[in-house]
């Protein structure tokens, strides 16, 4: 392009005022930062406990069938364990992806769409998972007894 006023006009003023977007000065980012560390430590215990009980104890991985899972979810301890694992993992993971979107999305539009999809996925998984844990029926009617946990008396 030749020297000309048309090209010159496109240059921003070098001293154009720089504006930082006004944001709320809450403690949100602080708590989310602390939560990431705390939930990470708790998740380590929960996940490795889960893996140990499912894959190592007794017959190990070969013991896993409908009866095994149903038996675990009939126990309130495992209900709480799995619920905690589900919620912590989902919030931890969602928050992690949220920061990644914040870091990489350059335009507000992209950022908004990606975060919308993320929160939608979060809601679906958490609601569905929580429902399953609490409404799970370990002894569905008319099922062959050898597939069910031992405490079913149908």
């Amino acid at each position: 392009m030749a020297h000309g006023t048309a090209a010159v006009a496109k240059i921003d003023s070098p001293r154009s005022p720089y504006v930082r977007r006004r944001t709320t000065r809450g403690n949100y980012e602080l708590y989310s930062w602390v939560f990431m560390r705390a939930s990470g430590v708790v998740l380590l215990v929960l996940i490795f406990g889960h893996l140990f009980v499912n894959l190592m104890v007794g017959d190990g991985v070969h013991a896993i069938d409908f009866g095994f899972v149903a038996g675990k979810w009939a126990n309130p301890m495992w209900q709480v364990w799995d619920l905690l694992m589900l919620w912590l993992a989902m919030i931890h993971g969602t928050n992690g992806v949220r920061t990644i979107i914040n870091d990489y999305a350059t335009r507000d539009m992209t950022r908004g769409i990606l975060k919308g999809l993320l929160y939608l996925a979060f809601t679906v998984v958490v609601v569905l998972g929580t429902l399953v844990i609490f409404t799970f029926d370990p002894c569905p009617a008319n099922s062959p007894a050898e597939l069910l946990p031992s405490f079913c008396t149908a």
């Binding site: 392009m1 070098p14 944001t23 000065r25 989310s32």
Partner: protein, 252 residues
């Protein structure tokens, strides 16, 4: 005057050997083209020459239109931070022999700030962040009639962060800053650290409040790019972590 090695006349003892080196400079002139282009310059350089000396040689002897900032040329003023071979360095503190002169040495403007021309960037966003953290002593009450006393131990607490020369090498090496330039950046946090941990200063909680922003210290991903880039050897990431810790102790 350039000393060169003659093939038939062996160099006198103590003479510094010279070599040719190619500088691949990122050129940008918005009055000519909106595209930035690479341009190669081959210069004769001594073993003791810095990248800045090579840039001078280009500007003075080859192409006077090459534009870059430099003031003191001795690593104190912080004017000539550029990206050399993909790393942020001060051109005046980087010896050519240390950045592999066998291959072309790339010299680019620092990233994340708008380029004005060639290697000159608009530093205003950087200084705006710096101003926001209030880089001055904040006190209450009457002025003391003598000095504000500080023990050597209290002084040592923030010694590292007093070394900042505001060259923007750290901030423009930060991938979070590259995205949208909204992040305060390591340099602003380092200079806040300098006052937050100063025993004479009373504006600490105000500064922590400012940096508790969505774009404040919590956007730091601890990639250590800033620590690696700092020409003054400030442990930038450590300073950021200390500010984070101060915020957490304040909140809980």
């Amino acid at each position: 005057m350039t000393a060169t090695l003659e093939a038939d006349a062996p160099a006198p003892a103590g003479e510094i050997p010279s070599f040719t080196v190619t500088l691949r400079v990122r050129r940008f002139n918005p009055e000519v083209s909106e595209e930035a282009t690479w341009e190669d310059f081959t210069v004769e350089a001594h073993g003791t020459d810095r990248v800045l000396d090579a840039l001078h040689k280009i500007k003075w002897d080859m192409d006077g239109s090459l534009t870059f900032r430099r003031s003191c040329a001795h690593g104190v003023c912080g004017s000539d931070a550029v990206r050399i071979n993909g790393r942020n360095r001060l051109a005046c503190k980087t010896l050519l022999k240390d950045v592999n002169p066998d291959k072309p040495i790339t010299v680019e403007p620092i990233k994340g700030l708008p380029v004005v021309k060639d290697l000159v960037v608009d530093m205003e966003p950087f200084f705006a962040s710096y101003r926001e953290i209030m880089p001055f002593l904040v006190t209450t009450g009457n002025e003391p009639s003598k000095e504000r006393y500080q023990s050597p131990e209290d002084r040592a607490r923030f010694d590292d962060t007093t070394k900042c020369i505001l060259c923007a090498a750290c901030t423009s090496s930060c991938p979070v800053f590259w995205t949208d330039g909204q992040y305060f950046g390591p340099a602003a946090i380092v200079n806040a650290h300098r006052f937050i941990f100063d025993s004479r200063d009373e504006g600490g909680s105000q500064r922590l409040e400012i940096l508790n922003d969505k774009e404040g210290v919590w956007r730091c991903r601890t990639t250590f790019n800033c620590t690696e880039a700092c020409p003054r050897g400030i442990e930038v990431t450590k300073a950021i972590q200390e500010v984070k810790r101060a915020m957490i102790t304040r909140a809980f």
